[in-house]
Amino acid sequence: MSAATTSQHKGSVNYLNCDYSLKSWLTTLDHKRIGLLYLIAILIFFLIGGSMALMIRYELLTPEGDFLMSDTYNKTFTMHGVALIFFFLIPSIPAVLGNFLLPLMLGAKDVAFPRLNLLSWYVFMAGATLGTIALVAGGVDTGWTFYTPLSSTFAHGAVVLAVSAAFVAGFSSIMTGVNFIVTIHMMRAPGLTWSRLPLFVWAHYATSLIQVLGTPVIAITLFLVGVERAIGIGIFDPKLGGDPVLFQHLFWFYSHPAVYIMILPGMGVISEVIACFARRRIFGYDFVAYSSLAIAVLGFFVWGHHMFVSGQSMYAGMVFSVITFLVAIPSAVKIFNWTATLYKGSIHLTAPMLFALSFMGLFTIGGLTGLFLASMAVDIHLHDTYFVVAHFHYVMVGGQIIAFLAGLHFWWPKMTGRMYPEGLGKLSALVTFIGFNLTFMPQFILGYMGMPRRYHSYPEEWQVLHVLSSAGASVLAAGFLLTIGYLIWSLWYGEKASANPWGAKGLEWQVPSPPPTENFEGKPIVKEEAYHYSPELHEEEKEYEHV
C-alpha cells in the first residue's frame, strides 16, 4: 500500500455525482449509496428516539407525574427503546459504515450480493414504516422487551404492529449478515489474508455471525407473541396454558447477543481510529481479532443473567453468571490492547481520536458495571433499577453511539468528499462526553438507592439526582445536535477532502474521496499487514495536511 495522494481526481466522476436522479438512488446496487440510504433512515429514527429520551428526562425533573403520565409515559419509553435499538443501534455501524467500507477495505468492487443488499434496505424501510404506523396508531406500552403476558394479552397498544416492525427489520439484519460473511470469505483482494484484515472487518465478521444465528430466534419469538395476541393460541400466557418465563428465555437468547451486534462493530471502528492516529499497528492484533469471535460465541450463553429473579433455577443462574464474568474478559483485553497501542505512538488528537478515547473511558465503565449485574447476589437488588438503565446506556450510547461518531468523523471525508470542521468536531467530542456522564452517572446511584425503571413518578428524596441527570441529557442533546448540524453544513461548505487526509493505511484510503462507483481501478494487491504505520518515520514526514 503506497501513499495514496497520487490517485486524486479532482472534479472527476464519483459514486455521488455520477447520477443525481432519485431513481438512481432508489435502484442503486452500489454498496456506498446503500450505506448512505441507511444513514438517512437511521438518522430519522435517532431523532425520534432521542426526542423521546428528552421527553422522558423532562418528565422526571419532578417527583410527581405532571408532563407525561402512565400510558403516555409508558408509550414514550417503549418507542424510545424500539426506535433506538431496532431502527438505530442495530443497523448503525454495520449497515452504514460496514456497507460503505467492507468492500473498500477488502479491495472489492462491491459486496457479494448487491441486489440482496438493496433488498435489505427496502425490508428495513418496510419494518421502519410498520414501526412508524405503530407509533401513530396509538403507540405501544409494553417496553421494548415485550414481556409476556403483558404484551400478548393485557397491553392495549398497537403491539402486533410493533412486533411486526421488529420482525420485518430482523430480516434486513439477517440479509446484511449473510452478505458480509460471504463478502469477507470470497471477495478479499489478492494477498489480503485473514491475518492481514483490518480489525473493523474482523469485528463485522463476528457481528454477522450473531446476526445470522440469533435474529431468527427473535423473529420466531415475536411472531409467537403476535399469534397469541391476535388469535389466542396459548404460548406464553398461563391462562391459555402457556409459560411467561419461556418468552424471556427466547427473547434474551437473541437480545443479549444483540447487545454484541451493537457493540462489536463499534470496537472495530475504535481499532481503526486508534491505529491511524497513534500511527501504530494495533498492539496484539491477534488477541483483539480473536476476542471479537470470543465475545460472539460466549455471548450466546449468557442470556439467563437477565433472569436471576425470574424464578429460573438457582443452578442455571450460576452457570449464566459465571459465563457472564468470562465474556467480560475479551472486552477487557481490547481496552488494554488499545491503551498499549498508544505506547511509542505518534498521537494526533483529532476529533475521531477524541471520540475514540471517550469511547475507551465510557466503555470501560459500562463494561465493569456489567459485572455488578453479573454478580447474582448484587443483581437481586439492582435488577430492573436505574443501575441497569445506566449500565446499558454506558455501553450503548457511551460505547456504540460514540464509536459511531468516531467512525463517522473518521470516514466522513471518504464518504462525502468533504472535511467536517475540526474545531467543532473536537468541541462535540468534549460536550458529548461531559453531557453523557452527567446524564448517566447519577443513574448508577439512583439504581443502588432502589429507583425502579419505567416509573414516571418517584419518592422525593431522589429528585436532586434526577435533576442532574436531566440537565446532563440536555447537554448531551446539544452535543448531538451540534454534530448533526456541522456534518450537514460540511456537505456544502466543508473543505474538499483529499483521498487520504489522515495519512491512514488501509485500502479504502487508496481510492479518491469520494470513491468512484467501481471503487478501484483494477484489482489492488495487498503486500503488507494491516496498520503498517511507522511512528518514528511519521514524525519526520509531515505530509498530510489534516493531522
Binding site: 490492547n337 505506547y343 505518534s346 448484587v378 443502588y448 438507592m449
Partner: protein
C-alpha cells in the same frame, strides 16, 4: 451534600454482605477506570505528535503481558462470582427456623394484596416483626410483577400460574419502600407501598388490632381455618376426608415425595398442590389412575392459598385420625 443520598438503608440480614460485594465491585471499577484513564493520559501526553521521545521498535505484541492482563482479571472475576453466588444461595435458601412468618402475596394490576397466616389482610403495606425470618409465597393474577424492597436488597418476580418465594429477616424497625420492579402496564409506577418493620411486641399488638372482621364483630379466621371451610364447601372432603377411599389422604402428605402414574416422583409442595387443584389430571398419583377429580371453576388465587394452608395444617393433626400413608412409607 445533604440532598444527595448515596446508599439505601441496610435493614435486612443480607443487606450488609450485598453492600460489601457492591463496595468491592465499585472499588474494582474505580481502580480499572482510573488505570485506563491514567495510562491513556500518560501516553497521549508523552507520545503526542511532535514530542521528542524514543519511538523506535514499538512492540507489535507481547504474549506474556497480554496473557497476564487476561488471566489476572479472569481470576478476580471468578473470585467475585464465587462470593456472590455463595451469598445468592444463602439468600434463596429457606432460613432454617421453626417460627418463620409465612405471608402470602398476590400481585395484580396494580396493587399488592397480602395475607398473614393468622388471617389479617393488607393492601400495599406489609407489617412484619423485626428479627424473625419472613417467607413470602407470591403469585400474580395477571401479568408479571416483581416484589422489591430496596432496604432489604431483595427482589423476586411475581409470576402468574406459579408460586415464587422469597426469604428475608428484617434487622431494623422503620418504614421502607416497597416497589413493583417488573413493568406491569399503565399504573406500574403506582404499584408501590411500604414495609413496616415493628418490634415483636408491636407486631403482636398490630395483629390484635386487626383481628376483627370488617363489618362483623367476629374474630377473623386464620388462613388454615378459611381453607378448611372451603375444603368442605367445594366438596373436597367427599374424597379426601380422613378414612375416605375416593382420593389420596392429605394429612401429612405435604413435603413428601409423591410417586406418579407416569413413573415420576415429585415433591408435594405449594406448586404441586396448586397444580393438582387446577389440573387434577396433570400429575396423577400412582394407584389413583381410575379416579376422577373434578376441577373447581372460578376458584381464586387467594382461595387456593387458603386450601394449601389447610392441607399443610393437616400435618400436625393426630396421626390416629389419618390412615396409613403409602407415600410416607415409600419416602
Amino acid at each position: 451534600m445533604n440532598g444527595i443520598p448515596f446508599f439505601p438503608e441496610q435493614a435486612s440480614k443480607a443487606a450488609h454482605e450485598v453492600d460489601l460485594i457492591y463496595y468491592l465491585l465499585t472499588a474494582l471499577t474505580i481502580f480499572f477506570s482510573l488505570a485506563v484513564f491514567a495510562g491513556v493520559l500518560y501516553f497521549v501526553i508523552k507520545y503526542r505528535a511532535g514530542s521528542k521521545v524514543d519511538r523506535h521498535h514499538p512492540p507489535s505484541h507481547n504474549m506474556k503481558l497480554e496473557l497476564a492482563w487476561s488471566v489476572i482479571p479472569l481470576f478476580m472475576s471468578l473470585a467475585v462470582f464465587g462470593w456472590s453466588a455463595k451469598l445468592f444461595v444463602e439468600m434463596q435458601k429457606p432460613i432454617p427456623s421453626r417460627d418463620a412468618l409465612e405471608v402470602i402475596v398476590i400481585g395484580k394490576q396494580w396493587m399488592w394484596h397480602l395475607q398473614h397466616p393468622t388471617g389479617q389482610r393488607e393492601n400495599n403495606t406489609l407489617h412484619i416483626p423485626v428479627g424473625r425470618p419472613v417467607k413470602l409465597t407470591m403469585i400474580s393474577q395477571d401479568v408479571l410483577h416483581s416484589f422489591y424492597i430496596p432496604a432489604f436488597r431483595i427482589k423476586m418476580d411475581v409470576i402468574p400460574g406459579r408460586y415464587t418465594t422469597m426469604w428475608f429477616e428484617a434487622t431494623k424497625t422503620g418504614t421502607y419502600h416497597l416497589f413493583c420492579a417488573e413493568f406491569c402496564g399503565t399504573k406500574h409506577a403506582e404499584m408501590i407501598g411500604s414495609v413496616v418493620v415493628l418490634t415483636p411486641e408491636e407486631y403482636e399488638q398490630w395483629l390484635k388490632d386487626n383481628q376483627w372482621g370488617m363489618q362483623s364483630q367476629q374474630r377473623i379466621e386464620t388462613m388454615a381455618e378459611q381453607g378448611a371451610k372451603l375444603f368442605t364447601r367445594l366438596g373436597c372432603n367427599g374424597c379426601h376426608a380422613p378414612g375416605s377411599e375416593g382420593g389420596p389422604p392429605l394429612a401429612g402428605m405435604y413435603g413428601t415425595q409423591r410417586a406418579l402414574t407416569d413413573g415420576r416422583f415429585v415433591t408435594a409442595d405449594d406448586n404441586y398442590i396448586r397444580d393438582s387443584i387446577l389440573e387434577p389430571q396433570k400429575m396423577v398419583l400412582s394407584g389413583y389412575e381410575d379416579k376422577f377429580m373434578p376441577t373447581s371453576p372460578g376458584i381464586e388465587e387467594q382461595q387456593i392459598l387458603q386450601l394449601i394452608a389447610y392441607i399443610r395444617s393437616l400435618k400436625e393433626m393426630p396421626a390416629a385420625a389419618a390412615p396409613i400413608n403409602r407415600n410416607e412409607a415409600e419416602g
